[in-house]
């Protein structure tokens, strides 16, 4: 990839992070956290996006970000109170900013009207009719400086040639403008670390300029010849004379992010007319690039000029030398003025404060996980072979194998942890969705999220967004009532949608609940009858009626709206959740709201399983579903009806399901006293005892999808490969538990159809 493209990719990745910072900051402000730290974080996010976008000439993005930034700056300066209205506008502006970023990345266009509307709204907040253009930061508003513009092209920040005129920053007049004005001398000597963290002197100088008039001089005396020059070292230092009415702490604040990465002295001057002429200092500097190049040429005579140029241009981008960032070096004053808002975005502010992290290509992690999966299979295979060979369990080999098993498991857990991510990334998209859907439906909605830090495998996270989006849409569109209806029902006008995540017995449980009207059961029933989904005289429990909304082709919305109600909704959600090995359940109370509960495996890669035999077949039952296993006694098993059995477990009768018969492996039922019963609990707490022939052992198995090459099979969750290299099927316990009921319903339907 071309290096600039690579930087651009990084920029967009960072944009995503900045956008989520922005959103969470704004949401915190909405909650009343308007301390300067939050406001600054929000400002920084927008500022960084703008800075980076400027470097890549992403004009529409820069323009919008600039307007946004200006408003935020007012908030930061205390000119604008961040009340609810202001924050609401800003939240919408953040959405548009996100659209702009995506448009810039994927080459789309942002809806111009929407962008302009928001820009106008932001400007209205400013109270100032500042033109929405970055050019407002032009040279004109620096009255104290007179200089020759540099031939620095601001489209890519890489000067094509070095033939610029050295800066001559002359001071024309510096009449004190008010009694409060003071003059400060700021001496700034960046260390290598400052550039290494992608900070940019030019930006600092520009920040200083916001405080008042500045004169800048550069000291390049430490700059070595090109041959000795370390591209990543800092050699330059600056002296800035600042005339401002601000306090010393305001000035120090500018350097907040480079604290410790530079030598900084700020001293107050008495305002006198005998100022050192900065312009002279600048001209005195031996900063003649051509001379440097000449010198280098002399040093390396054989090397053609082109090679040297190539070398220079190949210097790492954040290096403080002219090679990578022309605007930042010889003419800092110009850098503050040009639109090149820094070649290296100062996005590293955020990163520097966090723990050390690295970006790794997901493919590499996936490959590692696959390999570890194979390792687990291999380890199991080895263990089985050793057991078969009759080596005693106390032998060194067997003990070594036990250690290997522990290690394998630990490696697996660690590798899985790499890919585990908090669900925050999904939850964060929801506030925007809620705002949009609420605006479209004219309802007042408050979104409450809980358990954002709950971690789950990345592959699961990726596939969670769509189902959650759909459920939230449904909750607002179908669940919540209009404000006037709510008030009439004695509720507050604002509806609440609650989105929560938690770990529960080895699975992640996600709940979407609303405090709306709940499911209108008579209506759901009527619709199902009208659409021929159920018989007119079907005898359905409340739970059965609720579950009708998951049937394909069911839609309660009387008109197909933009938001939901296309009639594909909930059955698609259900299918995608099942595709993840998850389950969805609904509970609803009329007038009080509904709750959708998703339960998903934490990872799609491994499972702790009980390996059992059923009629010479080997099956795996997920350990999380098994409560206990027992050997039924003849007196505990009772027949109920013609072909059903129950088993008494501590005086509770539990349905007994013959797994072999259910899966069609045998036709004559297994004698319960000859087998083993696994007491399992399915979704919603339904219990059943599964009859199997024998238990082989407990093992961690790698989940292999059946759908990849075939399709879903009822009663089977997935497949795995056992130690002997053969495929074993993983039981779908919930499905097996529910199967009996389903079969009954099916035969009832057949009877009804026949009669």
């Amino acid at each position: 990839m071309d290096p600039l493209e690579a930087i651009k990719v990084t920029f967009f990745q960072e944009c995503e992070e900045q956008l989520s910072e922005l959103e969470s900051g704004l949401l915190a402000m909405e909650q009343g956290e308007t301390d300067s730290e939050t406001v600054n974080a929000v400002f920084r996010a927008v500022h960084s996006i703008k800075g980076g976008a400027g470097a890549f000439s992403l004009e529409p993005l820069v323009r919008f970000a600039h307007v946004f930034e200006t408003t935020l700056d007012d908030v930061r300066a205390g000119k604008l109170a961040p009340d609810n209205n202001v924050v609401k506008v800003m939240l919408r502006a953040a959405d548009v900013l996100a659209d702009h970023v995506r448009a810039a990345r994927d080459g789309g266009v942002v809806e111009e009207a929407r962008s302009q509307e928001l820009a106008a709204a932001l400007e209205a907040l400013n109270g100032a009719a500042a033109p929405a253009s970055i050019v407002s930061e032009d040279f004109d508003d620096m009255p104290g400086l007179d200089f020759t513009p540099l031939t620095v092209s601001d489209d890519d920040g890489f000067g094509d040639d070095f033939g610029f005129t050295p800066l001559a920053a002359g001071i024309i007049d510096l009449e004190p403008e008010g009694p409060a004005l003071r003059r400060w001398t700021v001496q700034l000597r960046p260390k290598n670390a400052l550039y290494a963290k992608a900070n940019e002197t030019g930006l600092l100088l520009r920040e200083l300029k916001r405080l008042g008039d500045i004169e800048v001089s550069i000291d390049g005396s430490e700059l070595p010849g090109l041959a000795e020059l370390e591209p990543e070292h800092a050699y330059l230092s600056w002296t800035i004379v600042l005339t401002t009415d601000r306090s010393q702490s305001d000035i120090q604040e500018v350097f907040e992010f480079v604290d410790g990465d530079c030598d900084l002295t700020i001293t107050a001057d008495q305002l006198t007319s005998s100022l050192p002429m900065m312009g002279e200092a600048s001209i005195d500097e031996p900063f003649d690039v051509m001379a440097l190049i000449q010198q280098a040429r002399a040093d390396v005579q054989a090397a053609p000029a082109a090679a040297i140029m190539a070398e220079i241009l190949a210097a790492p981008a954040p290096a403080p030398v002219f090679a990578a960032s022309a605007p930042s070096v010889p003419a800092p004053a110009a850098a503050t003025a040009t639109a090149a808002a820094g070649v290296a975005p100062d996005a590293a502010h955020g990163a520097a404060a966090q723990q050390a992290t690295i970006r790794v290509d997901l493919d590499r992690v996936d490959r590692l996980i696959d390999l570890v999966g194979e390792l687990v299979i291999n380890q199991a295979m080895l263990a089985q072979r050793v057991t078969e060979s009759g080596v005693p369990r106390s032998s060194n080999i067997a003990m070594g194998l036990d250690d290997l098993e522990h290690l394998t498991r630990e490696i697996q857990d660690s590798v899985m942890a790499i890919r585990a991510q908090p669900v925050k990334s999904v939850f964060q998209r929801m506030p925007r969705l809620v705002r949009e859907v609420a605006a479209m439906t004219g309802k007042q909605v408050r979104l409450v999220t809980e358990g954002e830090g709950t971690e789950v495998d990345k592959t699961v996270i990726e596939r969670l967004t769509d189902p959650i989006t759909h459920m939230i849409r449904n909750a607002i569109d179908h669940g919540l009532e209009r404000p006037e209806v709510r008030v009439a029902a004695g509720k507050g006008p604002e509806g609440t949608v609650r989105l929560s995540a938690a770990h529960r017995s080895g699975r992640i449980v996600i709940e979407v609940s609303d405090d709306g009207k709940g499911i209108d059961r008579p209506r759901v029933r009527q619709i199902a009858i009208d659409k021929g989904l159920i018989e007119v005289d079907s005898n359905l429990s409340d739970e059965d009626v609720d579950n009708l909304i998951f049937m394909p082709g069911f839609s309660t919305a009387s008109s197909v709206s933009d938001i939901s109600g296309r009639g594909v909704g909930m059955d698609v959600v259900k299918r995608s959740i099942q595709g993840l090995g998850g389950r969805i359940a609904i509970t609803s109370r009329p007038g009080q709201g509904s709750t959708f509960t998703l339960s998903l495996p934490l990872t799609l890669a491994v499972l702790d399983g009980m390996v059992v035999s059923v009629c010479d077949h080997t099956l795996v039952a997920p350990l999380t579903a098994i409560i206990e296993s027992l050997q039924p006694k003849a007196q505990d098993v009772r027949a109920i009806g013609p072909d059903a059995y129950v088993i008494a477990i501590r005086d509770t009768y539990t349905p007994l399901i013959d797994v072999g018969a259910m899966l069609g492996y045998r036709t004559t039922p297994l004698d319960p006293t000859k087998g083993v019963a696994l007491l399992v609990e399915g979704e919603g707490g339904a219990r059943a005892a599964l009859m199997v022939d024998a238990i082989q052992g407990q093992r961690q198995v790698v989940i292999k999808s059946l759908e990849a090459n075939y399709r879903q099979v009822e009663g089977i969750a997935a497949a795995t490969i056992l130690g002997d290299g053969r495929v074993a099927l993983i039981l779908d316990v919930d499905n097996v538990v529910a199967a009996r009921r389903r079969e009954k319903a099916r035969s009832d339907a057949k009877l009804a159809a026949a009669g």
Binding site: G664, A708, Y710, R711, V713, G715, A719, V727, L729
Partner: protein, 155 residues
């Protein structure tokens, strides 16, 4: 039966021919990934009889379709001498259980004759065309239709 060309273009393609019972069939060589001996498959519950089960293909789960049974011939009694042809059908890998692989044949498209209008729906469904090679009749299999239809099964 009247020979009829299905297409006027005469692009050359390579086919792998194989035997099921006394009949000979073929598939495009480009869709064949590998050919391997029979290994016992793990049966899947609630699946059509022609799906013999799944096997482990280097860590992937590969369904095995008994092609003879699928075509309405006879159920294969697999032995070590039977062969699984691993084919790619759209995005999925599927193993076809056949009696033996015969030959690689090179034909022009215009040598492929349209399927004769015989009574059996199964023939119409799975045979894309037939070709005549040295007095043998070889049927070209419609690979995309070999797997059970998702929608029909779901209903």
């Amino acid at each position: 039966m009247t020979p009829m060309t299905t297409s006027s273009n005469s692009a050359v393609r390579e086919l792998i021919s194989f035997q099921i019972g006394a009949q000979e069939f073929c598939v495009d060589i480009m869709s064949v990934r590998e050919i391997r001996g029979w290994t016992p498959a793990t049966p899947l519950p609630r699946t059509p009889v022609f799906v013999r089960g799944v096997i482990n293909l280097r860590g992937a789960v590969l369904p095995i379709v008994d092609l003879g049974s699928r075509l309405g011939l006879q159920m294969t009694e697999p032995t070590e001498r039977h062969v699984i042809i691993v084919t790619r059908i759209e995005e999925q890998l599927v193993g076809l259980l056949v009696d033996a692989v015969c030959d690689i044949i090179t034909v022009r498209d215009d040598q492929i004759q349209s399927t004769p209008d015989v009574a059996s729906d199964l023939v119409q469904q799975f045979v894309k065309g037939i070709l005549s090679m040295e007095g043998r009749m070889i049927s070209l299999i419609y690979l995309e239709r070999v797997l059970p239809d998702r929608e029909a099964e779901a209903a």
